[in-house]
Amino acid sequence: MLATSALVRRSVLVVPLLDTVAVEGSWRHEADAVALDLGGDSVRPATRTSLAQAIATAARGGAEVFVCVERDRVYAQLKSAAGAVGLTGVAVRDAESARDVERVDEVLREHERNEGMLSGSLEILPLVGTARGVWNVREVVTASARIRCAGIDEPGLCRSLDIVPHEQFDPFGFARGRLIVETLAAVKLPIGIGHPLGALPRDASQDDVLRVADRARNTGFKGALCPFSSWVAACNRAFTPTDEQVAYYREVRQAFAEGVKRGTAAVPFPGGRMIDVPVDERARLVIDWSERCRARDAQKAAALSRAWQPR
C-alpha cells in the first residue's frame, strides 16, 4: 500500500480572521486551501457573521476552506461558523492524542447534524505543534476517518520544546520525519515547509520559498502551511511535478516496459541508473500526481474566472 491519496493540497494559506484586508483578498492567491485563523476569537455575534462571510469569500477562488481552531475551544469556536456555506473542515492546533481528535470529531458530528450537513463531511486537519503531539502522531492521524492530511506547526513546537529558533540550526529533523512517515503510513497527506521557514516564518522572496519548499517536497511533504500569501505561488509550483520530470518518467515507464518484454525487470537507464519495479511505480505516481495537480489548477482557474466577473 502506498501514499496515493487523491488529495491535492500544495498550499494552505493561513489568514487571521481579524485581518479584514487579508480575508477580503484571500481568494485571489490561488491557494489550494485557506485556513481562517480565529486567533482565540469565538462567539461574539459580530464574529459569527464575519466568519460565515469570510468562508464564502475565501472559497471564491476555488480553495477549500478550513477554520483554524484551538483544541480545547472547538465547540465554542465552531459555533461561530453556524450557517456558513463552503466549509471544508477545521484545522486543530495542538492536537496531541486520539482523545483530542475524538472530541473534535464529536463536535463536528453535532455541527453537521445542526447544519443539516452530510455526516462525516467535515474534515479534521490536525496541526501538530507540541512534543506530545509529535510523539503520539500515529494515534492522532489515525483517530478519525475525517483526517486526510496533517500539518506540523513548527513555531508551536518551538514553544513546546523551549527552543529559540535559529536560521543556522534545524532542531526538527526528527519531528518532521516522524510526522511524514506516520502520516504517509496512514495514507494521508503530510504538510510542512521545513527549515528555516517552518520555525522562522517570514515574508520571503519567491526564490527563497521555492528553495525551501523544494527541499520540503524532497523530504516527503506534499504541501505547506503558508502564513504569507507570498508563499502560495512558490508552494504550488514546488509541490507540482515539472514538465521535465513528467517527460523523464514517461521515458522511464517506456524503458521499463521494454525491459520486461525482454524478460528483465532490472533495466539499465542512461546516466548509469538502474530502473526496476519501484522506479516504474514512482514514475506512474508522478505522472498521476501531475495530472491531478493540473486538474486542480483548472478547477481553481475556473472558479477565479467566475469570481472576477462582476456580480
Binding site: 501514499a3 526528527f174 516522524r178 524532497n218 524478460g263
Partner: protein, 317 residues
C-alpha cells in the same frame, strides 16, 4: 574462514534469471551476493526463476562470498522452498510489513531445513522494512523470529517510493527512518547497517569513486557493511571498508599505551591528540579485530577462487 566475525564489506544484488550476471558473480571478489527473485524478476519469469536457485547458489558461492536470496512477500512459501539449499546463508524479504509474514517465512524455512537436512536455525532472515509502513511496524517485526539478525538498510528506491520523494536530490529524506531503525534494532540486540550519507546526485550504480567515498565515510563512522548493484563498486567498497595500514598501526600503538597505563593503574593517557581510556582501547581492539576478519575473508575468497579455477581447468581438460 579463520574468523567467525561476518564480513560483508561489499554486496552485489542481481536478478537470478540473468545468466550473464550470475555466471560471473564468483569472479567479482564480492563478500556477499543477493540473488533476487523479487523486483528485478518480471512476474512472468517468477516460476522459471525459482528453478534456477540451487545452481545459482552454487555458482555464486564459488567465490567465497556469502549467498543470500531475496524473496517475494507475495510468494513466501514457494520462494522459501525454492531458495533454501546448502550454500545459502540467509534470506531477505523486501517490503516486509507484518509479523505474520515473518512468522510464515520462519516456519517455511524450518520445514525446508528439516526436509533437506540442513542444520536447524542455520538460515538467517534479513528483514527489510523498506517503506514507511515498514518503519511503523518495526517494533513488532524486530522479535518476530529468532532468525532475524539484522534489518536491511533504509534509503533505496522502495523507501523513496513510499515517501513519494525523488532519489539523488542531495536531500537526506531518510534521516528519521534510519535513526529510528537503528535505535529499535540495537535496543533489541539486532544489527542495523550504518551508512554514511554522501551526497549523490547522479544515481549511477557503477560510479566507483562515489562508492569508495561512501564506503570510506561509512567505515569512519563505524559502519562495516556495503552493498551495490554493479561489479565496478565491489573493489572500492572492499578497499574502503578495510582499515588502512596506518589506522591498524595507530590502533596497535593505542592498545600498547593502554596496556602500559593499565600496568601503572592509570585510567587514561594521551596519544597524539587522542585521549586513551578504556573506551578508546575498546575501539582500537575492535578495529584490529575487524582488520583481522577482513584479512581472513580476503584469504578465504582467494582460496575459494583458486579452487574454482582449478576445478574449471580440470573440467576443461
Amino acid at each position: 574462514m579463520d574468523s567467525h566475525r561476518p564480513v560483508h564489506r561489499s554486496g552485489l544484488t542481481m536478478p537470478i534469471n540473468n545468466a550473464r550476471f550470475v555466471n560471473a558473480a564468483w569472479t567479482r571478489g564480492c563478500d556477499g551476493f543477493t540473488l533476487d527473485l523479487q523486483d528485478s524478476v518480471p512476474q512472468s519469469q517468477k516460476a522459471h526463476a525459482r528453478t534456477l536457485v540451487p545452481r545459482a547458489i552454487e555458482i555464486a558461492g564459488q567465490g567465497g562470498g556469502e549467498v543470500q536470496v531475496r524473496i517475494n512477500q507475495a510468494y513466501i512459501e514457494a520462494d522459501v522452498a525454492a531458495a533454501v539449499w546448502p550454500g545459502l546463508s540467509g534470506l531477505n524479504m523486501g517490503h516486509t510489513l507484518t509479523v505474520a509474514q515473518v512468522r510464515l517465512m520462519d516456519a517455511s524455512v524450518s520445514r525446508v531445513e528439516r526436509e533437506r537436512g540442513l542444520r536447524p536455525g542455520s538460515i538467517e532472515i534479513d528483514v527489510s522494512p523498506d517503506s514507511v509502513l515498514g518503519t511503523t511496524a518495526l517494533e513488532d517485526l524486530v522479535n518476530a523470529s529468532s532468525r532475524i539478525g539484522s534489518f536491511g538498510g533504509v534509503g533505496g528506491y522502495d523507501y523513496a517510493l513510499s515517501l513519494g520523494v525523488e532519489m539523488f536530490t542531495g536531500v537526506d529524506a531518510f534521516f528519521y527512518p534510519r535513526g529510528l531503525g537503528s535505535l529499535i534494532a540495537r535496543a533489541h540486540g539486532k544489527a542495523f547497517p550504518l551508512a554514511a550519507q554522501i551526497r549523490d546526485t547522479s544515481g549511477s550504480v557503477s560510479d566507483a569513486d562515489h562508492a569508495f567515498r561512501q564506503a570510506e565515510a561509512t567505515r569512519k563512522l563505524g559502519g562495516r557493511r556495503g552493498s551495490g548493484l554493479h561489479p565496478n563498486v565491489v573493489e572500492p567498497m572492499n578497499r574502503a571498508l578495510t582499515p588502512p595500514p596506518e589506522e591498524v598501526a595507530e590502533a596497535e600503538r593505542i592498545l600498547t599505551l593502554w596496556q602500559e597505563l593499565d600496568e601503572r593503574h592509570e585510567a587514561e593517557g594521551v596519544f597524539g591528540t587522542t585521549t586513551v581510556d578504556r573506551y578508546e582501547a575498546a575501539r582500537a581492539r575492535e578495529l584490529l579485530d575487524w582488520a583481522a576478519a577482513c584479512a581472513a575473508m580476503d584469504a578465504h575468497k582467494q582460496r575459494a577462487v583458486s579452487r574454482a579455477q582449478a576445478r574449471r581447468a580440470a573440467e576443461e581438460c
